[in-house]
Amino acid sequence: MDTMTSLNDIFREVFDDDTIEITRATTADDVDGWDSLSHTNLIVAVEMAYNVRFNLKDTRALKDVGELIDLIDRKLAEKG
């Protein structure tokens, strides 16, 4: 399963909406309920699912789902 597909499942769980279909261009404005507090939930869920750790600066700077995917892939590559 590629990162986009697995991340889509996480979005559906975090935002309690099984109709979500993310793309690289998806931003917080495109997902109902994606505010600063649920963003923390999303990051915690992503960290757990991929067994990676982000620093606050990385996650604050994310502009869209594409950048989140790139960040996840970078962390996974660092793990080897």
């Binding site: 099984d18 404005d29 923390t40």
Partner: protein, 538 residues
């Protein structure tokens, strides 16, 4: 403003403005989350709200029936809200991040007959629908066709409705807007207002926010809360001002683009957002032309002095802090142009408002000493009851004063200074969160045996939700359980109720009657003396 006793809020905000010659004036400049712009004139606002009033009438709604909006900020929210009021039905609004438990509490208690929402929220409503026997219709803004006899397409209904509607004469005491507010115990309470409240909202929009029909005004509040209706709909449109509404969330670049490009003259926002702006790079503000911006106001939580100093330094403007509550319906105490701003203070009472600091025994408290912040009843936007809970409503009035639940002191020059809540309600990012609601949501998680929830100071949010939990035997705390807790509270109650910190303890301190002693938890969190523990359960 009031002619022939017509107090109807929907009428005054739309048709009346047309009658005053503002038909072709822009009432709402809608800016989508992708920064696309759509203008609605007062004539269009009148037609759209007429259509919605006819939609409800056709479905069998009558004056006094309760209809809720459950939408993110979008034009349909405004049409539905004002259309509902035109019919003299009661317009309730729900924060779009509410989870199903929060919805059930509010829709169930009010016996709401209808709701307008989005397709993506239908799942939440569907899961509680069988517990809402009075909910007859769900109107959905983003489906083309009716899904069933009671899940209906907004577009189809509106297309079939006439844009002519005659608003019946509406007296000042006719029920109008319903907001639910959280208390420290029990379920949220439905705060009922009346159409006559428009007098307060109009007056304070003029006298405090300094609005006139020539202004371009932007209130960032969500319509799920009282600021979003009193000052994001009613007050400004009752004056004929142009309102800018933005469908996106917090984004400093977008916000300052809007302030500059739309030539916003008066801006009403919240301390949490302002504190987030304070952390942005100063270059962002330096390159913006804010020459049109006359005034900035703030509401929701106390405004820190450093934010005011930042605004003076960076934006060359004061920020005027204002204070009111869901129950008061309109601004009661405020800093404002014309009086010296005392950074950190709430300001002085609005015209016609008599505020006082009263001791628990009902006696007046001398200036400089802390007590209960009270207001002499009688202002037009004063709530008229807590729905189905008149006893609690009456308890809010004692000795000729309304007790706000906030504590404050007044200085010798008449400025009021907020000190805190007299109950356990948590004010996080300007939203009141009931610890009881969060505790209840936590107890639904199988691993959790006991829960106690408090508010703790937070630099950004003013207060954050902190949860103490005791686990059942054989259950262990883990990152997986933390995530489960976060998502459960977020999706059942609301994102704003999500605990920011979770502590596992052996047992939750309770008194001998089994009541959670939140002050003990708070003292534990803050590292202070918990005071008298003689009533604590062994």
């Amino acid at each position: 403003m009031i002619i022939n006793g017509q107090f109807n809020i929907g009428h005054i905000c739309t048709r009346k403005q047309c009658e005053l010659g503002r038909s072709e004036k822009v009432a709402m400049r809608w800016i989508s989350q992708h920064m696309e712009q759509t203008d609605y004139t007062f004539a269009e606002l009148d037609r759209q709200t007429n259509r919605f009033a006819n939609v409800l009438a056709h479905l069998g709604f009558a004056p006094g029936d309760i209809f809720f909006t459950f939408l993110p900020k979008m034009p349909e929210q405004f049409f539905a809200f004002l259309g509902t009021l035109k019919l003299q039905a009661i317009a309730g609004t729900l924060f779009s991040n509410f989870g199903e438990e929060a919805l059930l509490d509010r829709l169930g208690d009010s016996k709401a007959k209808g709701i307008i929402t989005k397709k993506s929220f239908l799942k939440k409503i569907g899961r509680i629908r069988d517990q809402l026997p009075n909910l007859r219709y769900v109107i959905v803004v983003d489906i083309d066709q009716h899904q069933s006899d009671d899940i209906l397409s907004y577009d189809r209904l509106m297309a079939e409705a006439s844009d002519h509607f005659t608003v019946a004469s509406t007296s000042a005491d006719t029920p109008s807007v319903l907001h639910y507010t959280s208390g420290s115990t029990g379920k949220p309470k439905g705060v009922q207002h009346v159409h006559g409240s428009i007098l307060s909202q109009n007056m304070t929009a003029r006298e405090i926010l300094q609005l006139s029909e020539d202004d371009v005004y932007w209130c960032t509040a969500d319509q799920g809360w009282v600021t979003g209706t009193s000052y994001g709909i009613i007050g400004p449109w009752s004056i004929g001002a142009t309102q800018v509404h933005f469908g996106g969330g917090y984004n400093a670049e977008h916000w300052f683009d809007i302030l500059q490009r739309e030539k916003i003259t008066v801006w009403y926002s919240a301390p949490t957002a302002l504190r987030m702006l304070l952390k942005e790079e100063p270059e962002l503000f330096a390159r913006c032309d804010l020459s049109s911006l006359r005034h900035i106001f703030s509401v929701g939580e106390p405004l820190n002095p450093e934010v005011i100093h930042w605004a003076r330094r960076t934006l060359n403007r004061d920020i005027y802090d204002t204070w009111f509550q869901t129950e008061t319906g309109a601004i009661m105490i405020a800093n404002r142009p014309g009086i010296e701003v005392r950074p950190g203070s709430m300001g002085k009472p609005a015209p016609g408002i008599e505020a006082a600091i009263i001791a628990d025994d009902g006696s007046p408290v001398p200036d400089g000493e802390q007590g209960n912040l009270c207001v002499r009843p009688g202002w037009p936007s004063m709530f008229v009851t807590y729905l189905n809970n008149d006893e609690v409503y009456r308890q809010k009035f004692r000795g000729g004063y309304y007790y706000s639940g906030d504590t404050a002191y007044r200085d010798t020059e008449g400025y009021f200074w907020f000190m805190g809540r007299s109950d356990d309600v948590i004010n996080t990012a300007g939203h009141l969160v009931s610890p009881f609601e969060v505790e209840s949501a936590l107890l639904e998680i199988p691993e959790i045996a006991e829960s106690g929830v408090i508010g703790a100071p937070d630099e950004l949010l003013f207060e954050k939700v902190v949860a103490y939990i005791a686990l059942h035997d054989n259950c262990e705390y883990s990152p997986q359980l933390e995530l489960k807790i976060r998502l459960h509270v977020s999706n059942k109650a609301s994102t704003i109720a999500t605990p920011q910190e979770i502590f596992v303890v052996d047992k939750i301190p309770k008194n001998k009657s089994g009541k959670i002693m939140r002050r003990v938890l708070k003292a534990r969190y803050l590292g202070t003396d918990a005071g008298d523990l003689s009533t604590m359960e062994e």
